[in-house]
């Protein structure tokens, strides 16, 4: 270390953030500020982005302690809609559970759950139009499920089997579903942010009425793409919704490493001149209402919105992760915003539109549906069991037309397969 240049001054000190609780610690989330449900004001969708400073530091919440919908953000959805939403959220959870187990059984290499975050994607799919283009990260499977993507198709992708329309080329859960306006997922974080802006700009320049929405986690707001996307969006007033799913954890690093000690993620919007909302991400009604608000803002050419969904990643980052190595096991249950499915269920029960028996029956139904889909998907094979795409498809789609050097390599691969004595099943 160099000698201090100015010995009369106190030495500088580097701050390195540290989460409150580590493995073995008793969790107390009393410090987490949770504003009362119904307290946040609901601005006009045409309001100037400069007026949102209060909203980015508070939290839009609809469901109160007594499970009632309160305040100006109550979207007043019909009980039927709420029940369908609840069912889709339960479906996401059942799907996650089943696929997580499939990975543990060695049927596939990898999976990522969205446990505790089901209220982010599912209600948003309800608030957007079916042809609004979504640029998701890897934890918005709820969008696909709520938009009606067949579970078998999703599972085929997870198993990389012969039914996988991505031909086994992508890591499990990196779906691509143009039919459901769901953009191809990339492993590279936040690259989808500027792409969503570009899509939205294209839609606007063509006089279309469709908007774009994109998602990233709070950890990857630190990527340069985040800054570029917000700059482009504000410059061209792109009809886009930016979602930051603040689930407190980016693999092992807590949100403090993305800047959460100093400010909120919604507050990032302020400096860009973008409308910002901070939402209770475990409150399906609040998430729906904020998304619907932002969609209306975008659709009326009033500009982009950034929504921070304040939630908690209740599981490990992925099947390759063990959260007990870096955080207290007590965190998920102590999380003050509770479980999104239970909260929506309790609300429906409170308003007399649901009961525990129906919930139990529904849970069984979705579990059975997922199980049946899994059985169907496994007819197409599981990872590494021969029922994959023909090996020579490995070279398809690098370019629209295969150039000579790929044709040569393809022929080499076919020769290797023959030489190995394992000619693949072309059927």
């Amino acid at each position: 270390m160099a000698d201090a240049a100015r010995s009369n001054l106190p030495p500088l000190a580097l701050h390195v953030p540290e989460p409150k609780f580590r493995p073995g610690d008793t969790v107390d989330f009393a410090d987490v500020e949770i504003p009362a449900a119904g307290a946040a004001r609901r601005p006009d969708t045409a309001d100037d982005a400069r007026g949102f400073t209060d909203l980015v530091y508070t939290m839009v919440r609809v469901l109160d302690e007594d499970n009632r919908a309160v305040g100006p953000w109550d979207p007043k959805l019909s009980p039927d809609t709420l029940r369908r939403m609840l069912r889709h959220m339960a479906m996401v959870r059942a799907f996650d559970e089943r696929m997580f187990r499939a990975q543990r059984q060695g049927k596939t290499s990898f999976y990522m759950k969205s446990l505790g975050e089901e209220a982010v994607a599912v209600p948003q799919a309800y608030a957007l139009d079916a042809d609004d283009m979504c640029f998701p990260s890897y934890r918005q499977q709820g969008l696909l499920i709520a938009r009606g993507c067949p579970l078998v198709d999703m599972m085929n992708q997870i198993y990389s089997n012969r039914g996988d329309k991505l031909q086994g080329k992508q890591l499990p859960i990196m779906y691509s579903e143009k039919r459901f306006s769901f953009f191809s997922i990339s492993g590279n974080l936040t690259t989808q942010y500027p792409q969503a802006v570009g899509w939205a700009m294209a839609s606007a320049s063509k006089g279309d009425t469709r908007i774009a929405a994109t998602w990233c986690g709070e950890g990857s707001t630190a990527e340069g793409d985040f800054h570029s996307a917000l700059t482009f969006a504000t410059v061209y007033r792109a009809p886009v919704i930016f979602n930051v799913v603040n689930n407190q954890w980016a693999i092992s690093s807590f949100s403090g490493f993305a800047g959460a000690e100093a400010t909120t993620f919604a507050a990032r919007a302020v400096g860009y001149g973008i409308a910002g909302l901070r939402v209770d991400g475990n409150d399906a009604l609040a998430v729906y209402a904020a998304t619907q608000w932002a969609a209306e803002r975008a659709r009326t050419n009033a500009g982009p919105t950034l929504i921070e969904h304040f939630t908690y990643r209740a599981e490990g980052h992925s099947t390759s992760d063990d959260p007990s190595q870096y955080r207290s096991a007590g965190e998920p249950t102590a999380w003050p915003l509770g479980d999104p499915i239970r909260r929506l269920k309790d609300h429906l029960i409170t308003i007399g539109e649901w009961d525990e028996e129906r919930q139990a029956a529904m849970d069984k139904e979705v579990a059975d549906e997922v199980k049946a889909a899994q059985k169907e998907a496994e007819k197409n094979g599981i990872l590494g069991h021969g029922l994959h795409q023909p090996l020579d498809t490995l070279f398809d789609g690098v370019f629209e037309e295969m150039p000579w050097h790929l044709r040569e390599q393809q022929a080499q691969m076919v020769a290797e397969e023959t030489e190995s004595g394992r000619p693949w099943d072309r059927k």
């Binding site: 329309k165 080329k169 191809s184 590279n188 802006v197 570009g198 294209a202 570029s228 482009f232």
Partner: protein, 360 residues
């Protein structure tokens, strides 16, 4: 575009070109590139042009001059200074169904966008089973010889030729620039289109101490005014010869031609025009005929595209080779400012290599 003249000069229009035009004009490379974008914007409402200073101002090299006035601000527009954003937004526009032609002001500044190009544009078709594609053409001035120093002179083509899913194209004349750019814009794969800025205004023979030439007397400066294409993946034999094959592209094609003239060695000069896909047939045929091969590029040597060319020639023409394959390149240093002509692979370095290869 002045000096429009009708022509029936068959040497101007190689047989492989596909054209719907019968008038030509004298253009420099900037004008030819401008004309390519103009033609494509006219033909295809999906073509949009974007980048730093490309809109109202018309580009720092004037390549987009007049386009915004003609096609409007929603089709030709200035962007914030963020290469990540320029390429990321282009990919999103491409996914929507447009055909973006983004400009990166200097190839030296393409690196912030590498993630978007390598991880996204190049892989989008592959990873989505063909559901989404990135039909973008990234234009960027590249190369040295203009006292551009470290960050206005680089030749980073080797970074892109290494990426599966990207095409890399480099013209050496106004005629080729327009025909290749039209092909790149129409192509449904992402293409990196590097423009050798040293030869924007005229061919450069490497003799920096002689008066600068312009395109007015060069056959490659005679450019059809309308639509025509030069196919990607097709090299041009710019000089036929028997003694040695010279592989080059961009500015170095002209330097090679001058060296051949100066030394009197009967070399065959091949302008690769597109590096990926590469015209391996033309290369192979030539080297098998001459038995010797000299590769010339301005980019640094180690890991450069010349290494790939050398390996291919060695693998395919080994029994026809009468001498080791040689490479003349930039040195493995950052591009210097004051020592530019010591760094640049000019006539002296090339002729030394050419004489050596003929003696071997």
């Amino acid at each position: 575009m002045s000096d429009v003249t009708g022509t029936d000069d068959a040497t101007v229009m190689p047989a492989e070109a596909e054209t719907t035009t019968d008038t030509t004009a004298r253009m420099n490379m900037i004008q030819a590139i401008n004309s390519a974008m103009d033609v494509m914007m006219e033909r295809d409402a999906g073509v949009v042009v974007m980048g730093e200073d490309v809109g109202y101002f018309g580009g720092v090299f004037r390549a987009t001059a007049g386009l915004q006035a003609k096609y409007g601000k929603t089709r030709v527009f200035d962007t914030p200074i963020t290469e990540i954003g320029i390429i990321g937004v282009s990919i999103g526009m491409g996914a929507y169904g447009l055909r973006p032609v983004p400009e990166i002001q200097f190839a030296d500044y393409i690196y912030p966008a590498l993630d978007q190009l390598v991880s996204e544009a190049a892989r989008l078709r592959y990873r989505s089973g063909g559901e989404f594609t990135a039909p973008i053409t990234v234009r960027s001035p590249f190369g040295g010889g203009i006292f551009g120093g470290q960050t206005h002179s680089q030749s980073p083509e080797g970074i892109f030729t290494h990426v599966s899913g990207l095409k890399t194209v480099i013209p050496s004349t106004p005629y080729d620039a327009k025909g290749l750019l039209i092909s790149a814009i129409e192509d449904n794969d992402p293409t990196i289109f590097f423009e050798p800025k040293r030869i924007y205004n005229g061919p450069f023979n490497g003799h920096w101490d002689r008066p600068a030439a312009n395109w007015s007397k060069h056959p490659g400066g005679e450019v059809p005014t309308g639509y025509y294409k030069i196919p990607l993946g097709k090299a041009a034999v710019v000089r036929e010869g028997q003694a040695v094959t010279m592989l080059a592209y961009g500015t170095m094609v002209h330097v090679c031609a001058q060296v051949v003239e100066d030394t009197g060695i009967d070399a065959e000069i091949i302008d690769l025009r597109s590096l990926v896909p590469l015209d391996i047939e033309t290369i192979e045929e030539s080297v098998k005929k001459t038995g010797r091969c000299l590769i010339v590029h301005e980019a640094t040597r180690t890991g450069g595209f010349g290494a790939e060319l050398s390996a291919l020639v060695q693998e395919r023409c080994f029994y026809h080779l009468e001498a080791p394959v040689e490479r003349v390149t930039g040195f493995d240093t950052p591009y210097p400012h004051s020592l530019e002509w010591a760094y640049f692979p000019g006539p002296v370095r090339i002729s030394m290599a050419l004489k050596k290869i003929m003696k071997d």
